[in-house]
Symmetry: D2
Subunit: 468 residues, 4 copies
């Protein structure tokens, strides 16, 4: 409530300021945004400063994409650092290497638009508007190479403002304001929430939902995680998100499954909160439910099917492909028999074609031998597929670099349309143990070692032998 009150005050000041600088009168309507920005930067007083900020952000908000593009060009050309000045100061600094000149160089190098952004932040809901501005900018980033510089400035500023030390963790439950819950429904992108009844199930006593908020955007969850308290490590997601699932007494649970994490703000892309959130929630759960001993995710493998299909359809021989070949080779005889029997198919299918048929047509039978090969293929993909020197799978990259352990691969874990389309239904448990995360993190980051369970490690070693 005090926040709304404050909002009112700020808006009052803004209104007052708008009057003072005549922003509501006709003659000023045509004042272009360039001159407004210039005025703001040149240091108008508080009253008109807030009003100017609000006016600029409103005008920006109402712009078409085209006009926004023009505005970015303005930021790029008119509010960039002054090359001549940089050169001059740099020359001075090179000569003197004095503190004063270093400070001057810092100032010279910083684009004036950074100060402009800082002043825009004074407007009511200024922070949210700047986050939205960056989201817009990212959509047009490729239209002009120099926009990257604007983005770098914005990201630098937002990284500083959304410092972990300023974030507030809040429990989301059925007592939360409807306004927040509605956003949770809308923002959930991993496992869609189909309306209020579905949401309600996800907020019952055997579920938890936590979100980070920033004090300047108190109604806006920045990232949230959904957790299910269950018995035993979940190997499929259906029962976790089924709105009709029976409620478990949390005292009976022994495992916390993190089954969905969502970043909500496109404008904060590249500013990572997930690592913080998971560990803070782990700490919370340890306090609230000390009897829960195991914490793990149940995570998707977004690019798995694409990679697999590509291999099935191609003759390439990348490292990843060689792994897949080798796995197929080991399972070939059994597979050929099985699939041909099932398909009553002609015997002239290649092994690859058999595997493709099996995956595409018969996955839903949840056959154990299929599970085995899916597990092996997924493990291979997760551990060997690389992109730009990092693991190709961003989810694996995220959890493993956080220090999680690759605990288990679950075939048939997400048999929804979407699950099959992206990963032939396979999901992964990344296990979080606060006692080992640092070691795992260290080993992964410095030596690229993936910590995995004994079971998976046995399979993994088999690859190494065969691929060696």
């Amino acid at each position: 409530m005090s926040n709304h009150w404050l909002q009112n005050v700020i808006e009052s000041i803004a209104d007052r300021g708008r009057e003072l600088i005549g922003l509501d009168s006709n003659e000023n309507k045509n004042q272009d945004i360039h001159s407004l920005c210039q005025q703001l930067l040149n240091g108008a007083g508080e009253a008109s400063g807030i009003a100017l900020s609000q006016q600029i952000l409103r005008e920006y908000h109402n712009m078409s994409d085209e006009k926004k593009f023009n505005f970015y060009q303005l930021l790029d050309q008119q509010f960039a650092p002054d090359f001549e000045k940089i050169q001059a100061v740099m020359a001075r600094y090179q000569a003197s290497r004095s503190t004063e000149d270093l400070i001057a160089l810092n100032t010279a190098v910083e684009a004036p638009r950074q100060e402009l952004f800082r002043r825009l932040n004074m407007a009511p809901k200024g922070t949210a508007s700047l986050v939205a501005l960056r989201a817009d900018l990212l959509r047009q980033l490729k239209k002009s190479p120099s926009f990257k510089s604007i983005d770098a400035d914005l990201k630098h500023l937002l990284s500083s403002w959304f410092n972990r030390g300023f974030l507030q963790l809040r429990l989301i439950n059925w007592q939360s304001p409807a306004e927040i819950l509605e956003k949770i429904i809308n923002y959930e992108a991993v496992h869609e929430i189909r309306g209020w009844d579905d949401l309600r199930r996800r907020l019952m006593k055997d579920r938890r939902c936590f979100a980070f908020f920033h004090p300047a955007m108190p109604d806006e969850p920045l990232i949230f995680v959904e957790v299910a308290l269950v018995k035993g490590l979940s190997d499929e997601v259906g029962s976790l998100i089924n709105p009709k699932a029976a409620e478990l007494d949390p005292q009976q649970a022994d495992t916390a499954i993190f089954y969905s994490i969502n970043n909500t703000q496109a404008g904060l892309r590249g500013i990572s909160f997930g690592n913080f959130l998971i560990k803070q929630v782990l700490t919370e759960l340890t306090k609230e439910c000390p009897w829960i001993k195991i914490s793990s995710t149940l995570s998707p493998i977004p690019g798995f099917r694409r990679a697999l299909d590509k291999w099935l359809d191609s003759d390439e021989k990348s490292a990843q492909h060689r792994e897949f070949d080798s796995i197929l080779h080991q399972h070939a005889a059994a597979l050929l028999d099985e699939v041909r029997a099932q398909l009553s198919a002609s015997t002239d299918l290649t092994d690859k074609q058999c595997l493709a048929a099996l995956l595409r047509n018969h996955l839903s039978q949840e056959n154990i031998s299929q599970g085995n090969i899916l597990t092996e293929l997924a493990l291979s993909f997760l551990s060997f597929a690389k992109s730009k020197g990092q693991l190709a799978d961003p989810v694996a990259m995220f959890h493993l670099s956080n220090g999680a352990c690759l605990e288990r691969i679950n075939p048939f874990a997400n048999m929804s349309e979407h699950g099959q389309q992206t990963s032939y239904g396979v999901m992964v448990n990344y296990l979080y143990d606060l006692n080992t995360v640092e070691l795992n993190h260290e080993a992964f980051v410095t030596k690229g070692k993936i910590k995995m369970s004994d079971t998976l490690y046995k399979i993994f070693k088999k690859f190494n032998r065969t691929t060696a």
Copy 2:
């Protein structure tokens, strides 16, 4: 309450992290702060990141001034930007003038300690600790010229974090937590609060106290203003701060007197909130008490007596001195008679000596003619005394550049020991009218014009004639 809860969680994470990285064990105790900072900067995970930050800030907190000096040297030498790299990137940028190289230059120029400070902010109460660190640094700033660069980095960061858009205005009253009220007592430096009874009077129905808070320092008022709702423009401060003063029904008041503004955080020096605070409180009061038509300060003139005494004791002929001479000249005959009569004094006192005797010995008689000359001298001081191109009096500089009007000069306004020691008891009303602040601000900033009341302007014009 939710904040304390959050604090607990963060501390839990920190504790856990400390365990993990073995910070509590003996072998690590000797790990020096340099290597801890290096570790933090090299990107430890969340858990150990928070723990490291906390450890560093604790060690810093317990350092002697000498060790702190060493720590600043460390920041200065080991966490400064890399000159070679700046040169290299600059050379590239000069050649390419590309976006990428501009971004790279920004990165190269930014001191690594900025990122270090940002990471330290993750610790429990990190923000408050960094503000304290800067306060410490400022005290040792003169010991090494290059410390200015550290200060510039800290100030840059804190300016961004304490952006006006993040500050929250709160009313302070008798329902406020004792912890906050105790700080108000301790921080009040303009008109000392002598204990809880004195404070209570300042929080009654005809008084208001407002403060700005930052969400990361929820128990710490950053700046606060005390306001008295009175009948008529106050011409002396005694009745405003008298703990026994009768309470006025606020409905009977027509004037709001801002009689004390205090910045509380030495570590935020140079990051100005006062302007914002005054105008936001004005807006608040306008809403709550629309019947109050006049808002004004009752402000000190901190350097007035020093300037006056210097002139009385010297033969210099600075511009300011010429003004004083001229005023004395006009009042000389009357003064000589009056003082000599009072002192039964020998007639060989010079005019200056008479004035000095009068000021020093007989001020308490509150004689009208003394009032006149004090008013003229003060007006002269306020409008002509300059320092580094600005008005010499910082209070006048502050309010006039905010757009206030120099409304009235009150001799005998603060007859306390302190009041007489600093300004021969003279105080000033700076009047704030939201309808004219922008115009006044503009005129003052661009043309140096001081907006003053008709009465004062008549005296002011007299100077101009005489000094012309």
Copy 3:
């Protein structure tokens, strides 16, 4: 949050007490509720007192209707006042007429179950349980005449506890907890809320919803009112409850329409909050939106159609019937022509039959002459139909005794199935003007005078002439 914390503490005490008195062990399971109640009444200590209360309320909660009946019999027979004792004390009092004996008589007359109820209130959620108990009892009230005495005791107690001085008004909006909003959806019985989207429309900026809460039932709205801010006095309800209705800027509104009031607790029947709520909300709106000049309900006439149909079908000659006859008589000629024309109907329909046909078949054409006769019939019903000496229409009785003015009768105002089934679609505006409510209330209560608008009064006077 602090309430939940408190709840936890109370439950802890209750749990502890339950252990102490062995309520969880087997041997006590069979202890019957009679002896538990007796124990509680005989003054067990705090710990076991809370535990006993909780145990009794839990057992009661799990009883079948039949067992509850038995429990009421227990309350009736074992916890009633002692007749012999009343007689004895009364005899003493008659002789002495002393203060002591009067106090003793009060004690003797009060049923011990009142003290039992007061002690049951100590249990976690005790108050809510007692309200539920009374709701249950009311359903079985007719099964035994002496249950009325239990109900009288409960009602006496609850009236005292739900004293107006303890109720808290809260604004319900989209920031309210989902738990509360879900209850609003479920409790709305006047104009059904069809899910969350429908609810959301009713909480937008041109709508208001206020509820009374009791501190001991903080999650339970006891009564709530829904208000629409509109332009002009609404004459039909469809646009007010249409989830797709365009949103009006509240600044543009000039009228507040109270279109739905719901009591939510069957167990508080006969304890009236509506009067308080309406006037408190009026005061609230006057403060928040001083530009809104008119406040009125748009109310149903629940028994209108039943009364009308009865008359159309009968030959009775009650006072009400004579009014209806007379109105029909005045409109007969026009009606006969109109209806016969419309029906191409045989001319041998009686006037009553014509009217019945018109009402039943052709209402939806919203013909003005139909409107006139509906208005007259409704006004006649509202002002003359009586039941047990009061107005037959409870809604009219409620608002008129609150001091509202019968402002306007709107035919075709609620053309929903339900609206036509209950009142041939007619609704009423009762206008609330805080300046006249007391006078109107007084005139209505003491002299039975209904305050009505000039327009309606002209029609009303016509009746009086004709019926005189």
Copy 4:
């Protein structure tokens, strides 16, 4: 904040109502309080009802004691139950014994002033005003025997409203509003709090303060308890209330000492919360500090010295006196020697005179043998002194009937002036163990058995032998 807002609304309604019924105009000023009460009881509408209540309570508030006396007479004579009616209804009930007549009898017996009080409760701060009214009444209770009946009505009502189920426990600490803390300072009557510094010590980390509040008096602690977390069972109070006492890390504490309990509202006399408070706080502490194993009071023996002095000065032979005689007899020889040696006193002092001299003059030497006899005398007083069939010492009565154990008697425990004046410095530890309170309570209430520690029981048995 929401509470204040609500308060405002209620006051607005009251103001509005006052206008409506002309309470502010001159002609009504003289309307006497009798007719105002009559009006309120006869059922004015909500608006004027609240206004009337407020008017009556204000007038009452401003009355002199004499006028208040007249008001009580009014309540006694004009708002008492109607004797004739009671007789008539009773006659009917005796004949019919019907439910209806029982209900009617209840109604007839209830004084109309009860309903008057319930309606007065609607006024802003009505509940607090009624509590104050009862406090006033209690002061004049003896002036008229029939006032007891008014008090009985008020107490009945307040008991119902201040039902344990409505009370809220709150932790009081340095974050609490100054307004509440100021009341704690003023209300503390057991061990005076000498200003804010003293208070602050009592709110540090090794201290706890808890209070009960009622939702209708949110700023008013009804009862509060102060607890010290210490090492070992405290045997003297000085170190607990010393504002300079060193702070103990609560983790080091093993014992919670309840050293002060204060009821704050004279108007709630006879409505007991202490029992509830102690046990709820015990439950709280058990949760927060599970490592604290022992909970005990350190309590005064208010009437001990008076009883002892009376015996020393008299020749009476009451049961208590016989005990004291016997104890003196056993210690006589030793005492004579000791005292006479110390006093160099004449040998003709009787044993009693020796004891008196010893107690009055030499207590501060804290001699062990004095301690022994003080302990025995106090134990004798606590266990044998009776008044109206109950233990004479109200503190012992309170804790023992709550189920506490008489654990230890501490001579020299409160050597302050007040401590020596009331109990020759002796204090008592009553130990609370939630596992035995019910048993102890039961044994005390039903059989009069005092649960005491083995050490004290050994002494106690000695009495029994000697007194048998």
